[in-house]
């Protein structure tokens, strides 16, 4: 059997990690979308539940960071088992690269939303903009992730 580095997970641990990555991704998308919906009234100066917004912002940022960390944990396995094999023949690794960069840009947006949510109504429009940007990044990460996985997952061919 071919010996790989410790960070390249075997097939079953990688499969479980991928499922956890998908579940955490769904939760991140759900919470970041809720944050957008709940901050929307602030744009028009309407009353909004600032305590709930703070909760969504904090939970969203923590979920996003956890999802980011799990993605980095899975990355060596994908890079060695999948991306290297598909590099010349498939669109999937290139699309995967777009996903990783877009998701990285979403993390500071959600962290900024968390900081701004602690300010209450003072930073309402900015809070909505940061939440909206982060949600776009989370959604694109989820959709591109599914597309890439549909091309070829971490299992051996």
């Amino acid at each position: 059997m071919e010996e790989l580095a410790l960070t390249v997970l075997a097939e079953w641990p990688a499969r479980f990690a991928l499922v956890a990555h998908a579940l955490l991704g769904a939760a991140t998308i759900a919470v970041s979308t809720h944050l957008v919906v709940w901050t929307f009234p602030l744009l028009f100066g309407r009353p909004a539940r600032t305590r709930a917004i703070g909760w969504f912002a904090a939970t969203g940022a923590l979920l996003y960071a956890a999802q980011f960390a799990l993605g980095i944990l899975l990355y060596p396995t994908y890079k060695v088992r999948v991306a290297a094999e598909l590099a010349e023949t498939s669109w999937a690794p290139r699309l995967f690269e777009v996903k990783e960069h877009w998701v990285a840009l979403g993390l500071p947006l959600l962290l900024a939303a968390w900081v701004l949510a602690r300010r209450g109504r003072d930073a309402s429009r900015l809070l909505f903009a940061c939440a909206f940007g982060a949600a776009i990044c989370a959604w694109s990460g989820g959709i591109i992730g599914l597309m890439v996985t549909s091309a070829r997952s971490i299992a051996s061919p």
């Binding site: 580095a5 410790l6 980095i72 060596p76 890079k79 060695v80 777009v98 840009l105 500071p108 900024a112």
Partner: protein, 119 residues
């Protein structure tokens, strides 16, 4: 007691004057620009070599290498420094121009990575 109360009040006032919004915007824009610059100019950063289980500091590496977390770390550091400077020197309320500039930074960074991955 009165001295303590007045100190607490002044500390609260000081905290309220901190330009958090400006710092948040500047840090997001700085992260985006730094993240693009690291890739575009191939600046040195931490790379993880998955086949060797080794981390190296380089601008480019042969074979499969993961530079993504290293780029995030460096861009995060730049964003942190930018936020610290903006919170000391920036205006209390960011203008519309700063908001637009930050939004443009994110969009330019997103477009750059699409262009780079899909020539």
């Amino acid at each position: 007691m009165n001295v303590l109360v007045s100190e607490i009040v002044s500390a609260r006032a000081l905290r309220a004057r901190t330009p958090v919004e400006t710092a948040a915007l500047v840090s997001v824009a700085a992260f985006a620009w730094a993240y693009v610059a690291i890739d575009w100019l191939a600046l040195p950063r931490l790379f993880f070599l998955p086949l060797e289980d080794r981390i190296v500091w380089a601008s480019q590496t042969p074979g499969p290498a993961i530079g993504y977390p290293g780029a995030c770390l460096t861009a995060g550091l730049v964003a942190g420094i930018a936020a610290a400077i903006a919170s000391r020197l920036g205006p209390e309320r960011p203008g519309r121009r700063l908001g637009l500039a930050t939004a443009c930074s994110i969009l330019v960074a997103m477009a750059y990575f699409v262009w780079r991955s899909w020539p």
